[in-house]
Amino acid sequence: MAEKVLTARFEKLGSHRLESYERDHGYKALKQALSMKPEEVVELVKASGLRGRGGAGFPAGVKWGFVPKESEQPKYLCVNADEGEPGTFKDRYIMVLDPHAVIEGSIIACYAFGAHAAYIYVRGEFKKPQRRMESALLEARRAGYLGKNILGSGFDVDIWVHPGAGSYICGEETALIESNEGKRGMPRLKPPFPAIVGLFGGPTVVNNVETLAYVPHVINRGPEWFIGLGSEKNGGTKLFGVSGHVKKPGLYELPMGTPLREIIYAVCGGIRGDKKLKAVIPGGSSTPVLKPDQIDVNMDFDSLAGIGSMFGSGGIIVMDETTCMVRAAARLAKFYAHESCGQCTPCREGTPWIAKILSRIEGGHGREGDLELILDICDNIQGNTVCPAGDACAMPVRAFILQFRTEFEEHIEKKKCPIGRFPAPW
């Protein structure tokens, strides 16, 4: 088995306590970072090529570098712990089992781009992660890692938990900022970008929990080590949350670039009941679905983009031959329609339209031309919305239809599910 980094401490008793973290060289990276110039920290993270683990894969060091050095407004870090994308379950484990890694990474990030305050925006339903983060923050504050003049460095920083108000869209970075300000969680129009005008009007970086938890390791062990775990542009390991019809679903830490086939068959033990594989969503519900003949792909940002899908957040959803693709697509569209913030026209009106047509087809009332219509609606949504949530619905729906077109057509012609599934009750 390959090296474990983020999950290395997960199974230790009391892994979430400060003493356990310190025993495992916790906060050593912070001390080292504080001895460097902030720009040097940014350069080091840039050199590692560490890419954001929240979905878009934007290099973290580059993002920090966008923040202006001088700013009249205070700068902020927002830690994105909203984890709402269906199929994704990783940040919650980091927060519960190794909260100090998130805190240490956040402090280093703040130091690197000059923020003195950070908020960990934890999804509303995540009560345990919220409590864990709170008590870890308390420990860190008592130990002098947070507060004024931390570790005698002259640098002030503090971090607070902001419980989310319960909406998927609050995971989108600008909606998160609005919600963190106490407003209705609605994405903002860009420009201005958060790095220039973000939380409370100040320059702001939004980073995913997993991204930040990796930062101390990058500082401790250097960019070469990080790249060596994966590849040049896709360094490090990654947390994969595998769910669906595999024998051993769960959270796995694997090197970037591990082939999808290996994950499904070697790591997760193959398909439940040794049935045939039908479809895989590779990185959370918004990423375009793959067919069985595509699973030799390496699981990293560029390889998946190369075959027209996306790496996303590492949430792999495996579906076997008993799964109705129309139903899967309809359920997914319903989710995005329900979670649209309602601000912009194509997403607000288009996503429920798609959901209605799909569930009509599933219910045996499909019409000729429905598929063309859905594809055209997807066209009219994609790229035309305020935030990428519109795309998050259009892209997977289009992929389901294009990849499994005959199954959709059979539904429409036979007016029922060809594999004998009854329509969903919703």
């Binding site: 129009l189 979670e339 309602g342 601000q343 912009c344 009106e349 339209w353 949504i381 035309n384």
Partner: protein
């Protein structure tokens, strides 16, 4: 300065402007719905999508700052398709009830669907229905027509300083309205009707009264207070049906308060005066003027001209007041001239309702208190109205001429004053008109031309919108008739001639030009 190309046309724009602002300034219309020049840009309707060379995605013109060398297309096939898509999305759940919608004819959604939309609907699913919500005495909400542009919310929050409206629910269940159906009773609520680009918010006052394409639209002024807001008066069959704001960057920007809008009710009231009255009975106006002039001439001939009191008003036009003054000074030869002016302490709203920006109703509810000071006083001291009445009560005045005012409102009593001869003009059947020996009907501000000088010294043009009822005319015309009958030989035929004389005679007004007056008015110096 940035130079950019829009649809092949090179234009110049100021740095920091958005592509939409720059395009609109050059007369290139990029369709837009949620953008409003006075409100924060949110870019949510997605109507103004444009294609920019070397930028992969379409961008919203309202939220894209201009850049030097930018090449923009607003008509490419990609843009047209996206725009058609947005219009389709906006229409699928819309009730398509244009025939019974008040906004029809001035609805941006309707116009854009006509220009860019597709005729046939591809939508075969159930339409969304929203529950009714009562918003109080001025507004009607039909959420089914709402396009979620949030202009209403932004108007209330950013301009009126009221957090009354909000979004609730999400996705396509999102509603715009008030929490727990609280009525919207701000003094500015009817601006929401103008801010709303569609028929989702309509006016209880105007609802179902007229179709926009059958009405005539005249740019004029509101006479509700001393601000002098620019308005469009919408009339049909000789009746003004509503007032809406006309843009004037310096006076009211895009807004008009509810009080001002509803002054139209006074114009349309049942108790308007259309005939001349003698002690309350109808008489022929010409005969009435003959009698009044004869009576006045008798005083003047007997050397008692100075025993005549004349009351002008800050409710009239500059032209009215100018000829009233001239009548008093030159024809009657009296020093007893006063005018009714606005009261400063007349609070239009509670302090807590005070808008964030200063674009609304003023405390002085008379349109030309300042103009009347300039014109009636012209540097001389004049007695105030109460002083004049006191003189009459002491028997020092034999006759009283009251233009356009109900003196009982000034005295607060039911009677005016006992004089030998009381002459009055009035727009309505007021107590003064009833008690007058001779009364002649007077036109309101929507029925006559002229100028107003507002509180900051801005002279603006008032235009006649509809004909006055019966034989009503402007006070300056009544003054001219009286003067003519007394042998003064005045030759004014049109308002402009009076304005020209004001420009020539009244200090500070020399630049005022009735015919060439710019839309935003002309500034004068108060004496």
């Amino acid at each position: 300065m940035a130079k950019l190309t829009i649809d092949g046309r090179e234009i110049e724009a100021q740095d920091g402007q958005s592509v939409l602002q720059a395009a609109l300034e050059c007369g290139i219309h990029i369709p837009h719905l949620c953008y409003h020049p006075a409100l924060k840009v949110v870019g949510s309707c997605r109507m103004c999508l444009i294609e920019i060379e070397k930028v992969p995605k379409l961008q919203v013109a309202c939220g894209t700052p201009v850049r030097d060398g930018m090449v923009v297309s607003t008509q490419s096939e990609r843009v047209r398709k996206a725009r058609r898509g947005v219009l389709e999305f906006l229409s699928i759940n819309h009730p398509l009830d244009c025939p019974v919608c008040d906004q029809a004819g001035e609805c941006k959604l309707q116009d854009y669907c006509f220009e860019y939309g597709q005729a046939e609907s591809r939508y075969q699913e159930d339409k969304r229905r929203f529950p009714e919500q009562d918003l109080g005495s001025t507004l009607v909400r039909d959420m089914n027509r709402c396009i979620h542009c949030t202009r209403c919310i932004r108007f209330l929050r950013d301009v009126a300083g009221a957090e009354a409206f909000t979004l609730y629910e999400r996705g396509n269940r999102t509603q715009v309205g008030t929490y727990l159906e609280t009525p919207v009773e701000t003094p500015f609520s009817m601006n929401l009707v103008d801010a709303c680009p569609v028929g989702a918010l309509t006016s209880k006052h105007f609802r179902f009264k007229g179709r926009s394409w059958l009405m005539e639209k005249t740019r004029t002024l509101c006479a509700g207070c001393s601000r002098g807001c620019n308005v469009y008066a919408w009339s049909q069959k000789g009746r003004v049906l509503r007032l809406t704001p006309a843009e004037n960057e310096w006076v009211n920007r895009f807004w008009l308060c509810d009080y001002g809008r509803l002054t139209v009710n006074d114009v349309n009231a049942d108790d308007r005066l259309g005939d001349a009255l003698r002690l309350g009975d109808c008489v022929d106006p010409e005969a009435a003027l003959d009698q009044a002039a004869a009576k006045l001439k008798a005083y003047v001939d007997a050397g008692a001209g100075d025993k005549i009191g004349v009351v002008a008003s800050a409710r009239l036009t500059n032209e009215d007041n100018y000829l009233i003054r001239k009548l008093a000074r030159e024809v009657l030869g009296t020093r007893h001239l006063a005018f009714v002016e606005g009261k400063e302490d007349d609070r239009p709203f509670e302090p807590s309702d005070r808008p964030l920006t200063e674009w609304f109703i003023r405390e002085d509810k008379m349109p030309i208190t300042w103009g009347a000071r300039d014109i009636i006083l012209s540097g001389e001291p004049a007695g105030d109205v109460l002083g004049l009445i006191a003189k009459a009560r002491r028997g020092e005045l034999k006759a009283l001429l009251v233009f356009g005012e109900d003196l009982t409102r000034v005295t607060g009593e039911d009677r005016v004053v006992e004089v030998e001869f009381l002459f009055a003009t009035g727009t309505h059947k007021t107590r003064t008109v009833e008690l007058a020996h001779i009364a002649v009907p007077e036109a309101t501000y929507l029925e006559k031309g002229g100028t107003f000088t507002n509180e900051e010294g801005r002279v603006q043009r008032l235009r006649p919108v509809v004909a006055p009822p019966g034989r009503a005319r402007s006070a300056w015309q009544t003054a001219r008739e009286l003067a003519g009958r007394m042998g003064a030989g005045w030759s004014y035929r049109a308002t402009a001639e009076v304005t020209a004389e004001i420009a020539a005679k009244v200090p500070g007004y020399q630049e005022v030009d009735f015919i060439e007056m710019p839309e935003e008015g002309q500034m004068v110096e108060h004496a």
